[in-house]
Symmetry: D2
Subunit: 309 residues, 4 copies
């Protein structure tokens, strides 16, 4: 369905950046922690990575930003690679149909979160990866450094501390699931691991590269296999149905690609077998997704004809 | 991503049918109306239709069955073609995250159903198509006859009457949305239209053919355009995220194609730009999807490598 | 606990009326039907009836108003007298903890409404009384005429028609419960009976008198027993815990008497073994109870020391 | 309404004990912590305390048991006495209409618990009393020792430790409310205070005596006033509408007195202006109330004619 030449990526990105530049409404940065609230909503960067590691970019595409929930994709992949389908006894794969922090469905479904990308689900995945590795956050950091080829990637301890200081909802989720026997580690240890992961800083270029294993059906940058073909497809499926909070249907409708957003304003997306994208602009819509980010991905799929549909 | 030759479809279908034949557990037919309850759960049929109208099939693929919710796809397409994006002010595009008849989210969201494929959403779409055409069910029937090339397609008035006799939940949904001003027609008229649509009988061959306009990005069998390229992709996106009740995530994970199921045991699926599928087996799982149907589609995508991911 | 002399009732009522007169905020009349919206929120009437039928009153205490949900108490008593405890298999006795029309708990609890005073519960009670008498509304009217000694009491057909025209929520409730097998009559018949009951017009004097059987532990005005001692106490208990929508706790806290309000602005209250009260002022608070009515009952219990606590 | 002589209490209690003795079904003790699970469900004790401190009793009425949620009444009284109506900005007074630990309504109502007797509400009250006294549990213990005249009353540190070890749901509730700014103290400190209160051991005699301030309209055993007349009535009102989990309506219907139960199998009840009761039997019904306890109170009000209705 897609006949786009690689040489066309750069002009498409530049055209999109020019269009976004003329867009007045950029939404508002997340304001619950100072580091995010301070971001300029007019910042914009976008990168495309091909399967061979070639990266194209525009705007602030080499500028590190707070990845936040985007890391949930990588943590999921790292745990799924280790424990396989047993994971799915502890977290579901269905869209949540509710604002992303809701406790309602969690109660209704006995402490099993709907999917790995709502906070409750990511806490479970982190808990399980931590039990298997002794250092979930460290494992994530190593993986992202290797895939992006950027050894300078690091957690932002100040952001992690801010998150922890506003972490009562996540603590409530963790204790609630622990009451159902669905958390193994001590809650403070788990929360520390979780907030550090969220605090990771990386650029559009870093994240587009780090995501290519999902476009390569499970093969890492060094040629080794992290996931089976089936597992890679499955993560793409979960990204499409659950990757953008309560706007997954709208994202599939407009963009038509597996994607995952974060409240830092970043979004990653996968064109299976072809390339990956990462876009960043800190202004969010009311559902927590980057306004300019979604618009840019929408334009990219329209201009290039790329879509899984 | 897909290199399958058409000539391979028939052997793949036969292999799948043989595998399904050996599967003991087929689930249980829907039992809320006699006509469905009487179906033999071991019945199995499957068809593939290519873009040019060539159809391959196996088992009971020419046997008519009760399409039920599968018709929601066609009603949506017919209304969207007429009124365009205005429809989305009256029905959402997000997965429901709740059993398919739930009133909870409807109340929370002021009478706007989450998507066009839950019963509440299909009632709204039917209501709007009826207001625009004066005969929603008739419009649907004409369309399906023309696309399938089968002028014998018809509603099953006995099934429609059975549905009406057990129609209190749908009546409740309709009145509830009417209380929010989201229904235009009289409720008895609307329910009659709705239940007649659900009662339509068609075979796997008929439905696979009738669905090809979605694989052809909006072009009907006669070469005329029903939907824009963008609208066709959008319906595929909604099928992927919302097409199989509260198992849409699981369906995307296992099958990886836009699909829509009905409690009659049928499922249609779309491989955009390539072909469509329809499978039928009346035994359902606890979420209302055909057990053998999902298994057969799962095998098809595994054996052929077809997947949007 | 109560030593109030009957001769003190009249001065207490006059003092309360004077205080209410000086109160600027009276809330807003219900506006969903014209007949209620047209009421002057500054209207105020209050009556006390003693066990022997002596009535004291102040303000518009002889002016008929739309009783609305107040009639739910009498319909409950009439059905309970006939079928006894079997009724409680079809409707609960617990506070609803949710806005009065909510469908959520009804779904959670399989079509059994929480109590007889939410709309869903009153529909069930009406349905059952209708099955037993063939004319639930007529039964109610006869009873109220006899207890009040006022043969002029009548339904307001115009109000009943207005209610029916805005009756989609109640129709949804009725169909929803019918889907669970908890409604016996045809829905249009049931709704007609229900809306007619709600439309009954009566004055504070009429309603205070008609309620005295609950203060007399089940004995009607003519000396015959309608309810057992135990049943009369039970209805008082349900009025206290469920009689004022989602403000029952607050009403118990402030007034401390069994009571039942209606969106017409009326409230009845019972001092077991001593007297009954009825107050009317059409302006409502955000939970649907008369602002001046609750304030007047609060003052009455404070000034007289009457309270079940 | 009540003409019972004190001299009649003892024979009534003995008659009730004999009847209970013949009742085969006693329910099952709470089993989530060992100390409660080990209780013999056939244990039964009951006490009545008059306003002057005279106590009558039967069975194991002098045997200490785990008071659990019964202490919520005293903590509420101690905090309300200190801060007055400001408390009601942080906790509601409405029945919860949901199982006692539900998080749903808490989320719907922005972290303000429905009433002081669900766990969430008791955590808020404990938090506020602790902020005002520096030792909420110590304050409670002193009060109960003084009112009961039993200086041996003590917390059961083993039970408190068991509760803490199974305390994830309460921790979730506390963190959840903290996310809404409705908790002032550190969560571990608050939980320690809360679980210690629940662990208090006291007998029927102790608790009946300690409750008499509510029957005396706010006056303590030493003649000093803890609560205003109005506050005492208000706590009785909250006990009646919210004191027995999701069975408050049923308790009002059957017993007709303000009461508060605990999962240790105890229940206290108030006859305003007359006496108090405490009953204990560890076997619970499915809603968490003592089976024999409710039955005994039901018999007491039937035999004596005592009831607020």
């Amino acid at each position: 369905m897609m006949t786009l030449m690689s040489s066309q990526f750069q002009p498409v990105l530049e055209r999109i950046a020019a269009e976004i530049e003329r867009t007045p409404d950029r939404g508002r940065p997340a304001d619950y922690i100072p580091a995010l609230a301070a971001c300029d909503p007019r910042t914009f960067g976008m990168a495309v990575a091909e399967l061979d590691g070639t990266v194209y970019g525009v705007g602030d595409w080499r500028e590190p930003f707070s990845t936040q929930s985007i890391t949930k994709v990588f943590t999921l992949a790292l745990d799924l690679a280790r424990e396989g389908d047993e994971l799915w006894e502890h977290v579901g794969r269905e869209p949540s149909g509710n604002p992303f922090n809701s406790l309602v469905q969690l109660e209704y479904e006995n402490g099993i979160p709907r999917n790995p990308f709502i906070n409750a689900g990511a806490l479970v995945v982190t808990d399980r990866l931590h039990s298997r590795t002794g250092d979930a956050a460290g494992e994530l950091l190593s993986f992202l450094r290797e895939e992006s080829g950027n050894p300078a990637l690091a957690f932002d301890e100040e952001v992690a501390a801010s998150e922890a200081a506003h972490g009562d909802r996540n603590a409530a989720l963790a204790h609630f699931m622990a009451a159902y026997g669905n958390i193994d580690n001590d809650i403070p240890v788990l929360l520390d691991q979780y907030f550090r992961q969220c605090s990771l800083r990386a650029s559009c270029a870093d994240l587009a590269l780090a995501t290519t294993f999902l476009a390569r059906h499970g093969i890492r940058a060094d040629g080794n296999r992290l996931l089976t073909l089936s597992q890679a497809k499955q993560i793409n499926a979960i990204m499409l149905t659950c990757g953008t909070y309560d706007a997954a249907g709208d994202f599939a409708y407009r963009v038509g690609l597996p994607g995952k957003s974060g409240v830092g304003g970043g979004i990653i997306a996968v064109v299976p077998g072809r390339c990956t994208l990462c876009v960043w602009s800190p202004g969010l819509d009311e559902r927590g997704n980057s306004v300019a980010g979604v618009a840019a991905l929408d334009r990219f799929t329209t201009l290039t004809g790329v879509s899984v549909f």
